[in-house]
């Protein structure tokens, strides 16, 4: 098991104001409830917050549901009924491969991942929900089984703080396809319908099949984290670049505009492929940039 390490240059996710988290909660729950449609009560359902109806008391109703304000107003006893909510299990798939420990504009991609994980964790454990985490990126997927409450949040925070997989050395075996393996594992383990949030840069190969498998049963939201230096190569003259995953070196003359053009075009094509792959899988797609306010972008995309 490769030990995770805090990446050099870690900035942290930034400030997380509480009301932003609450707004995200409502938005995500609205998304999730669409997939949990059904008016019948299911085992394990609890009373939710959303009001379903306010009607006059009938014999046999639960007395605890009497609404004093409505009864006083009309003079007839009224009861308030709420939408039954099932405890939602949120699966969080976090990509901590070496390529995530990259950032040129004030924040690393892994910092944004941390922030999204913290926010989703807080939302998930509200009102009895449960959170499970699958950390993908190394040779082995680390799992945090579904649990709820403050303990779950503490464990999630400890896992986030562990960091990312260290850079691969040339000659060492690489963990290509880690994202695909993690998604397959989640598809196998997550039985009950829930929400799966995948936070990654989607640079791994072959994630589309397993993601389709997961999206067949759950609501999937794919959060793609992007850094501007990935979309376009900066002009730095003769550079030696190293791949964080494999340790391969390549010497490239970035002062050539033709080369930068070709790279930008190839990167645009790759991102278009990611977008279409996510659309075919039926997953929601959020793109977060490291040089922008990711929390605001996340809220705007989910709403």
């Amino acid at each position: 098991m490769t030990a995770l390490r805090t990446p050099a240059g870690r900035q942290g996710p930034g400030a997380l104001p509480g009301d932003a988290v609450a707004r995200l909660d409502v938005a995500l729950r609205r998304r999730a409830s669409g997939a949990l449609s059904g008016d019948h009560l299911t085992p394990g359902a609890a009373t939710g917050m959303e009001i379903a109806q306010l009607r006059p008391y009938e014999a046999g109703d639960d007395v605890r549901r009497l609404d004093p304000a409505a009864s006083a107003r009309t003079g007839v006893p009224h009861i308030r009924l709420q939408v039954p909510e099932r405890a939602v299990t949120v699966w969080l798939v976090l990509d901590v491969s070496p390529s995530m420990a990259f950032g040129t504009q004030g924040r690393l991609k892994s910092d944004v991942t941390e922030g999204v994980a913290e926010v989703v964790g807080r939302m998930a454990v509200r009102r009895g929900g449960r959170i499970a985490v699958a950390v993908v990126g190394g040779a082995v997927t680390r799992l945090l089984p579904p649990s709820g409450g403050r303990m779950a949040l503490a464990r999630l925070r400890a896992l986030i703080r562990a960091g990312v997989v260290p850079d691969g050395a040339p000659g060492a075996p690489t963990a290509a396809g880690a994202l695909a393996n993690g998604l397959r594992r989640v598809a196998r383990l997550a039985r009950a319908k829930g929400v799966v949030i995948v936070v990654s840069d989607f640079r791994d190969p072959d994630w589309a099949g397993p993601l389709r498998q997961v999206a067949a049963r759950h609501t999937v939201v794919a959060v793609q984290v992007v850094d501007p230096a990935e979309s376009e190569l900066p002009d730095g003259g003769q550079l030696v670049l190293v791949d964080p995953e494999t340790g391969d070196l390549v010497e490239v003359d970035t002062s050539s505009p033709a080369l930068r053009e070709v790279y930008a075009g190839a990167e645009r094509e790759r991102r278009a492929q990611v977008t279409s792959g996510l659309r075919h899988a039926g997953a929601g797609h959020v793109v977060l940039h490291t040089n922008r306010d990711w929390l605001r972008d996340l809220g705007r995309s989910l709403a």
Partner: protein, 315 residues
């Protein structure tokens, strides 16, 4: 190849030192490589340069540096330079024994063919003279640049009579001693004596050899013929005419030349060719720094040009 100032060759050590420095710089650049997640994509975009194209500019520059280092050490090479105002006299035996056919077609004709070979091997600046002799000196030609005349004189020789080698040598020495160079010194000279038998008349050839040694004129002797050589006499009898290599060797040794013994036409022609180049030219050491500098500059230009064109950088 030799070097006039060999200590300067130590400057060639700069090449491996620079190479080592460049290597450490390269390693340093790789150590401080920038991380980028898109390297796999870039690797697919950048064309794979074959190894020889990557190393060619550096290789050419290293060769140019070595060439310049050699230039500074003043290289010198030995060239064969035609001797100025040198003369050689071909003393050819035309006695009756030269009719023998043991050397095809006859000894005399073989000698004439060999002399042709000699003429083609010598530079145009060499003066050639002829002394054809039998019982006495038959034909003389003073050393001249008109090589056609020499050819004609040799071709006109007939085989008849005895062998007066000493007289012939003296005649040759007379014609050579008279020549003087521009600076008042006697120009270099040599004599090539071709004979097939003992001296039968006239002065002793060994005395002529001593005189040649005093004058500083080496005599190269060629003993022609085999022990089975025979000649048909007018009365129908066969006379055996073996060569006399001992005397000829003594003549050569005394005068500071070399003795050759040949038994067939091919060897004779070979000897004359060797003599032609030996007498007509002398080794001289000349500096070739200019050639080295020129080649080094070409390599330098080539290395820089190739580097800038292919890789848009010098090394």
């Amino acid at each position: 190849m030799s070097f006039a100032a060999p200590w300067w060759l130590l400057t060639a050590l700069a090449v491996p030192l620079l190479g080592g420095f460049w290597w450490t710089q390269r390693a340093r650049r790789r150590q401080h490589a920038l991380r980028h997640p898109g390297v796999a994509m870039i690797g697919a975009m950048v064309p794979r340069v074959p190894a020889w194209r990557r190393w060619l500019p550096a290789g050419l520059l290293a060769l140019a540096a070595l060439g310049l280092s050699a230039t500074v050490a003043r290289p010198q090479m030995t060239f064969d330079v035609p001797v100025e105002k040198a003369s050689v006299v071909l003393v050819t035996d035309a006695s009756g024994s030269m009719e023998a056919a043991d050397v095809q077609p006859t000894r005399l004709q073989a000698a004439q063919l060999a002399a042709e070979r000699f003429m083609s091997a010598i530079p145009d600046t060499l003066l050639v003279g002829v002394v054809g002799y039998a019982s006495s000196v038959r034909a003389t030609l003073d050393p001249t640049l008109e090589h056609e005349q020499v050819r004609a004189t040799i071709a006109a020789l007939d085989a008849d009579g005895g062998t007066a080698s000493g007289d012939a040598l003296n005649a040759a020495l007379d014609s050579l001693a008279a020549r003087k160079g521009d600076d008042g010194e006697t120009a270099p000279a040599a004599i090539v004596l071709l004979s097939d038998g003992k001296t039968t008349e006239g002065t002793s050839p060994l005395e002529a050899a001593d005189r040649a040694e005093q004058l500083g004129i080496p005599i190269f002797t060629v003993a022609l013929g085999t022990d089975d050589g025979v000649v048909m006499q007018p009365d129908g009898e066969l006379l055996r005419v073996p060569p006399d290599p001992e005397t000829l060797r003594a003549i050569a040794d005394r005068s500071g030349g070399r003795a050759f013994q040949v038994e067939d036409t091919g060897a004779l022609e070979g000897v004359y060719e060797d003599l032609g180049s030996r007498i007509g030219t002398e080794p001289e050491e000349r500096e070739v720094s200019a050639a080295f500098a020129g080649v080094s500059l070409l390599l330098l230009a080539g290395g820089l040009g190739v580097g800038l064109r292919w890789r848009s950088r010098v090394v």
